[in-house]
């Protein structure tokens, strides 16, 4: 298995180019979801129809598979006359799905900040904006980092499903190479290792961020 | 202590007979040279303690002095690096190999069996929340000692009556107040017929008005002749019920003596300072 270095020499760059796409999708999705998820979470706090819509949105994306959402967007848009590239469909589907999960993470973080913090701030005469930016949000951010890290890892893994619509991220690249070379083990081992590297990097960044932002809870 | 009527139901199954001529009080608990460290932190620095049958020893001292760890070492909830513990003559946790003089750890089975002779009540989260009060009390006698269920339940109801909670037998712990839960915990420990009962700050987590009922139960237990070691901050209990008071600080026993002597004229400055706050408030 270690023998075929020629093969490895050709596969690795291909896998790495796939990994770049994987990384792009992951990072873009994560960043977009940080913002989008926050908006959804804030919408959910609303007591009127907006809150209900946000809630329904979250429940819908949490209870349907990513793959189906992917197909709906990809094929749906194509049929509807605005064909989206695989990458864009994938990005859109990933953002829609993970936006729901990130919103729930924010909600958990907001809920976990004790009511007393609000009271203390108001007792000191803070108004809403100051209260939120100087007292509440820093605590929410600190508490939200571990689940966000997990979500980031989840996103990296979910990008593999975009292979189903022929995007040349790493999973698809691996599949193509396996089909054309019958060198199954090496290709997948390589892909697996690169995924482990990517998810480990995400985990590491998460831990470092957690330590940096750790104040006594 | 007064003697109890021998045919009245008692919290203690086999009380030592007070007033009968005895050569010397037989030691119920003997701790010798116990040293315990948590990593680099030496919490017990060589503690030796002897408790006679039927004696009530109250351990007092500042937080971090090692009082809780001391209790936990007796029934090997915490492992200790040096020293031995015997209860009623039987070693607990470690026995001394007669040939080498080294201590060796007993098997897990033996340790579990020896724990049956020691009862302990903790500060909180004592009871099993998924069992009723009655089930809590009979679980160990039935499953550990093999007592027939009917007999165990009868004894359980007896004990509940003595701690004043007969009507709570079918309740789940979540429905009971903290004081009631602790009284059930005492009954549960007693159901195993221990020779020694240990109490680790059992009233510290309770609302003040619930403390009295638990202390009353403990007082009754003392009157019935149980050998007890009590770690507490309740100084009035120490003064009224203890046969001996032990003051611990920094992992060693600093001073011990009878309550009258300790409270009125402690020999050590540190003890005097510690008790001063209490004495000032209550002026013995």
């Amino acid at each position: 298995m270690l023998a075929d270095l020629h093969f490895l020499a050709r596969v690795i760059p291909a896998l790495l180019s796939g990994a770049v796409i994987t990384a792009e999708l992951s990072v873009l999705t994560f960043l977009i979801c940080l913002v989008w998820g926050l908006l959804v979470a804030l919408a959910r706090t609303n007591h009127g129809p907006l809150g209900w819509i946000a809630g329904a949105y979250i429940q819908t994306v949490r209870n349907t598979p990513l793959l189906i959402q992917l197909y709906i967007i990809y094929f749906g848009f194509a049929m509807g006359g605005f064909p989206l590239s695989g990458f864009m469909s994938g990005l859109l589907a990933l953002c829609i799905q993970n936006g729901g999960y990130v919103a729930e993470i924010y909600r958990g973080g907001l809920q976990s900040v004790s009511q007393r913090q609000y009271e203390a701030g108001r007792a000191l005469g803070m108004r809403r904006w100051t209260l939120y930016t100087t007292v509440i949000m820093p605590q929410v951010i600190a508490r939200v980092i571990p689940p966000m890290t997990n979500q980031a890892i989840s996103i990296i893994k979910d990008t593999s499903q975009v292979a189903a619509i022929a995007v040349m991220e790493m999973m698809k690249v691996a599949e193509v190479w396996v089909e054309s070379s019958a060198n199954t083990y090496d290709v997948f081992a390589g892909a697996a290792i690169i995924y482990l590297v990517l998810t480990s990097i995400a985990g590491f960044i998460g831990k470092v961020t957690e330590r940096r932002l750790a104040f006594a809870q | 202590m007064d003697d109890t009527l021998s045919d009245a139901p008692s919290l203690v199954t086999d009380p030592p007979v007070i007033g009968a001529p005895q050569a010397a009080p037989r030691p119920m608990l003997t701790m010798t040279g116990v040293v315990k460290s948590f990593g680099a932190n030496q919490v017990l620095r060589g503690v030796s303690l002897s408790v006679a049958a039927g004696e009530v020893v109250v351990v007092i001292g500042p937080s971090g002095s090692g009082k809780t760890t001391l209790l936990r070492c007796v029934n090997l909830l915490e492992d200790y690096q040096q020293g031995t513990v015997t209860v009623d003559g039987a070693p607990i946790g470690y026995r001394i190999d007669p040939r080498s003089g080294q201590r060796q750890r007993m098997s897990e089975r033996d340790i579990a069996a020896s724990r049956e002779t020691i009862g302990i009540v903790f500060q909180s989260y004592n009871l099993f929340p998924h069992m009723t009060v009655l089930q809590n009390i009979v679980a160990a006698p039935v499953r550990v000692k093999g007592v027939p269920r009917a007999k165990a339940e009868a004894r359980a109801r007896e004990l509940l009556a003595l701690v004043g909670l007969s009507d709570k037998a079918g309740e789940y712990p979540v429905r009971l107040s903290g004081g009631q839960q602790q009284r059930v915990a005492i009954a549960r420990a007693l159901a195993m017929d221990p020779k020694l009962m240990m109490f680790d700050e059992v009233t510290s987590a309770l609302d003040p008005e619930l403390v009295g009922e638990v202390l009353a139960a403990m007082q009754q237990l003392a009157r019935d002749g149980m050998t007890m070691i009590v770690v507490t901050h309740e100084m009035s209990f120490a003064r009224d019920v203890a046969d001996r008071i032990v003051f611990m600080e920094g992992g060693v026993i600093v001073e011990e003596g009878k309550p009258e002597q300790m409270f009125a004229a402690p020999r050590t400055e540190r003890v005097r300072q510690f008790l001063k706050r209490y004495n000032d408030r209550y002026r013995i």
Partner: protein, 217 residues
């Protein structure tokens, strides 16, 4: 109404697909749970060597996408000569994958019990076996039930991935129908609805369990 026609013609086929989905998920849940409990016990009580191996296993499984593992096994299995029907191969992979997540759920349940519960049980003279059976497990499983159900929902959604390696279940069925009717929106949304019904029901059960576990403590 005319738009819904393709769905109305094919819904029964989709339902059969859903049946296969449930069959697959059901077949994977049992071994995943059993193995999850075992691994959790190893994590809490096992010797250092066993725990180290477990950590490696957890790291690998949680850092690699399920799709990669599924595809890997799908290509690899015929080569090893083991005569395993694809259905069972897929079930095996999913069981091993989700066992890792389940074990973390059960471990969290066990470790969240107050130390006093262990102390009380041990002080009453209970051996470890008895203590686990009547004190620790009843409580730990009750605490772990809601996140466990959550993992089950995830497993049901993950069955959609087997369609990418060519196995037939709801997602594959819906793809077939779409290819035939060229109505991706209706069909995929129909499939999404079926998934939603299954998963949301499970999610509601999980929330019911969560409320119940709070009452008892």
């Amino acid at each position: 109404m005319k738009m819904l026609a393709p769905l109305l013609h094919s819904y029964w086929y989709l339902f059969r697909g859903a049946g296969m989905t449930l069959l697959m998920a059901g077949a994977a849940v049992l071994p995943a749970t059993a193995l999850g409990v075992v691994l959790a016990l190893v994590h809490v009580f096992g010797r250092p060597m066993a725990r180290a191996v477990l950590q490696v296993y957890l790291f690998v499984v949680r850092g690699i996408p399920l799709l990669v593992l599924l595809t890997f096994v799908y290509y690899l299995l015929p080569l090893t000569g083991i005569d395993l029907p694809p259905f069972w191969g897929v079930v095996l992979v999913m069981s091993l994958y989700y066992a890792a997540f389940m074990s973390e759920v059960f471990r969290a349940g066990i470790e969240s019990l107050p130390q006093a519960q262990w102390d009380a049980a041990r002080s009453l003279g209970m051996t470890r076996h008895l203590m686990l059976r009547i004190v620790i497990f009843p409580q730990a499983l009750r605490l772990a039930a809601p996140p466990f159900v959550s993992q089950c929902v995830s497993l049901v959604k993950a069955t959609s991935l087997v369609s990418i390696v060519g196995l037939w279940e709801l997602t594959m069925a819906s793809r077939e129908v779409v290819e035939r009717t060229l109505a991706p929106f209706q069909i995929f949304i129909g499939a999404a609805l079926i998934y939603f019904c299954i998963c949301y029901t499970l999610a509601l059960y999980g929330r019911y369990l969560e409320r119940r576990s709070l009452v008892g403590h």
